[in-house]
């Protein structure tokens, strides 16, 4: 028998393991229970002082702690937790011997304030500049911070811990990063370079400066009270996204290789697509063409017609611009079929896990296919009359779901979409 191929003659890429951590909890079971119950993981930040911040809530993962604390350290821990769950489910390779490459979506790394303050205090004076700090940086006192704040450090840790093969790739396509990590894995398997790939998205970067940066761009919701009601995708009174932490991990394999080892197949990554918007650093092209093109490329890559999509896991950040643009572009792509597609945004409950979002939402999309149940978009009390999606508002909905489109759009004109199915179509 010839190897199973997709409509374009490429190896079919299936998912055989998944793991997830969000502010709702660790693991698929906890997350799915809470997600479909419409619970929110958004809470007032307690990790650091919130005085003076316009936005003081986030979807922090407070049940995971790392010592000494750094956002990069937390990211690493979250990525490892999600990966452990995915590998346990996939039951692939030996211990610390994953038989394929690692693609990791991760936030850009930099020295953080606790460490910068520590360095400043090490100068031992009250008037000093960066040059004085440079003077006390060497000599072994801060050696661990070199590795900690290398961009490749999280991937390096995961590659060693899980024994992935080759050079691990750390990537950022802003809010689309998690989807891009999956796309890189799919492409490697389609090229025949690998039979399996580990694709992870992780983000633990709720810290003061990160919140301030998004705040200064007026991107965050300021509806702090109550925190659980802050993230309102597709609502008329939405006012921004809510920063959040989490990780999603997927073991991808060629269908052939998964079948050969008798692995349980959780779903298929039927298509991926991306298209860059060159209009503006943070805003979408007003005609929406890059997003429309991204979704159409993804449908073409999956060999599917718009009518074959029966659920959209929306980017749905709850910023005024994103949700409006997402509706307008989706309406162009799906036309008359759009009213028949239930749409939901996981970000109403877990917040925007930024670099992890594409991976976290791909895991939730596959759980939706598994359970034939669509998680709700909570806080959907005042629908935006200009957004005519069939929003799965406030309570989960049972539905026949065969193919899910998961969308991710990010700063820097990054657009990426995935199509996930239960079976090869």
């Amino acid at each position: 028998m010839s190897a199973p191929r997709d409509k374009l003659g490429r190896p079919i890429v299936v998912v055989t393991g998944m793991g997830v951590v969000t502010s709702l909890g660790a693991g698929k079971t906890d997350n799915w229970t809470r997600l479909t119950a419409g619970e929110s993981g958004i809470r007032t930040v307690t990790r650091f002082p919130i005085d003076g911040l316009k936005t003081n809530m986030a979807g922090t993962v407070d049940f995971v702690t790392v010592e000494p604390f750094s956002s990069t350290g937390l990211t690493e821990r979250l990525a490892a937790m999600a990966t452990e769950e995915a590998l346990e489910q996939a039951d692939i390779g030996g211990k610390a011997d994953f038989p394929g490459p690692l693609f990791l979506a991760v936030a850009p790394v930099e020295v953080e304030w606790p460490q910068r303050l520590e360095l400043g205090r090490a100068v031992g004076r009250t008037e000093f500049d960066y040059g004085d700090m440079l003077h006390v940086s060497g000599g072994g006192r801060f050696t661990a911070y070199h590795r900690r704040f290398m961009f490749g450090s999280v991937a390096s840790y995961l590659a060693e811990k899980f024994g992935t093969k080759g050079s691990p790739i750390s990537l950022s396509t802003a809010c689309a990063s998690g989807a891009t990590a999956i796309q890189l894995g799919v492409e490697a398997i389609r090229r025949g370079e690998a039979d399996a790939a580990l694709c992870v998205g992780a983000d633990g970067s709720v810290n003061p400066e990160a919140m301030v940066r998004f705040s200064l761009l007026s991107a965050l919701s300021t509806q702090n009270d109550p925190p659980r009601a802050a993230s309102k995708p597709f609502s008329k009174n939405r006012d921004g996204f809510v920063m959040a932490e989490g990780a999603g991990a997927m073991v991808l394999e060629s269908y052939e290789s998964a079948m050969a080892r008798g692995a349980k197949i959780l779903g298929v990554v039927a298509g991926c697509g991306e298209l860059t918007d060159s209009f503006h650093r943070t805003r979408s092209s007003p005609d929406g063409k890059p997003i429309i093109g991204c979704m159409r490329k993804t449908l073409a890559d999956a060999g599917l017609e718009p009518e074959q999509i029966d659920h959209i896991n929306a980017h749905g950040t709850a910023t005024p611009e994103n949700d409006k643009m997402e509706y307008n572009t989706t309406a162009v792509v799906f036309g008359d079929h759009l009213p028949k597609i239930p749409v939901s945004s996981n970000k109403s409950m877990v917040g925007h896990t930024i670099s992890a979002a594409g991976a976290v939402e791909a895991v939730f999309s596959l759980l939706t296919l598994e359970h034939q149940r669509i998680p709700p978009t909570i806080n959907y009390e005042i629908p935006d009359p200009s957004i005519l999606f069939d929003v799965v508002g406030n309570t989960a909905r049972d539905a026949k779901v065969t193919a899910v489109m998961s969308n991710s759009f990010g700063f820097g004109g990054q657009n990426a979409s995935l199509i996930l199915t239960r079976e090869p179509l």
Binding site: G52, R121, S215, R281
Partner: protein
Amino acid sequence: MTEPKSAGAKEVWITGIGIVSSLGEGLDAHWDALNEKKINVDDKRFAPHIVHPLAPVSFDAQIPKKGDQRQMEAWQRIGTYAAGLALDSAGVKGNKEILARMDMIVAAGGGERDIAVDAAILNADAKGNSGPGFLNERLMNDLRPTLFLAQLSNLLAGNIAIVHGVCGTSRTFMGEEAASIDAARIALARIESGQSDIALVGAAHNGERMDLLILYEFGDFNLTDKFAPVWQREDKSGFALGSAGCFLVLESREHAEARGAKPYAKLTKVVADLAQRKQPGAVTRSLEALWPKLGVGNSGSLITGATGAEPVTSDEKAFLRQHPGFAIRATGTMFGHTLETQFPLGLALAALSISRGALFPPNDPTGLEVEKADSPDQIVVVGAGHWQGEGMALVEAIK
């Protein structure tokens, strides 16, 4: 991980090269500088640290809108500029049809700080003037709102899309030296397999940053006091950060021929690995394991991004000594260490050397680098990251 090339793999040409560095901008300026053995270091500005500062550049030539320039920190400007040079060199600048479907893989760092804002906060903290909300208030009041995007890693690609219109796909790889080895590896694999026809690949680095010097000083990686060529740093190891941007246009032979593009060379192989550097000689073994995948003979030319930091440079030297038939050139001596940019720079200089029919002269008093008289038809490019990541590529003349 790299399998033998599948039958039907497309030949990939390097049809565009853009370089800006401490030695100048453009191919002629770099070729002349390399032949004159020019080195441009500044040992005063960050004394005792040494850097290779960016040569004077008129950014307007590639980034015409001042508004765009203001939205970028230095590394983004350097990269956007070099990307423009590469597109010009490939003859695709302004070709909307091609740019709209061009892939882009950028290897990026990022994180440029507002040094003055940081210093004010740190000084207040040292004076005990920092209550619980102090950091938040200072950041809310003092950070420029545009700084975030100007230092955000994927916004180098974003700016290249905005300024030059490269908007097929856009991926940013991170992770120091290895990021650009992987960028070249993935771009090559995508074109070879027909997943893509044409790609812009490269990186940019601003080495004149106090915050970066601090980051590398944590690990005692910086070269201080006195400049020495990379191979002559055995007594006092370290790298001198360099400012540079380098981008390449890679495309399938069919695509290049169909539009009548003139190639510099072809990119035949890119391989990479991650050694766990826990035992002495791990990098030597990693490079030795990659070497046979290139399929080269016993002699030829080799351009390395060796950093001058230890122990990796000694490990790499041990590897190089096992291939005595190769004429070696270390870009670190002339350009400094440009992190993500070092590997594309090696690829660019390999392609340039092949297209000019000569390897540029050695610049090494230790004798590791030797003269090479004949015209190179194969050049190996090697990269071993200062703390992790190893890779190599083969650049060849087009027959």
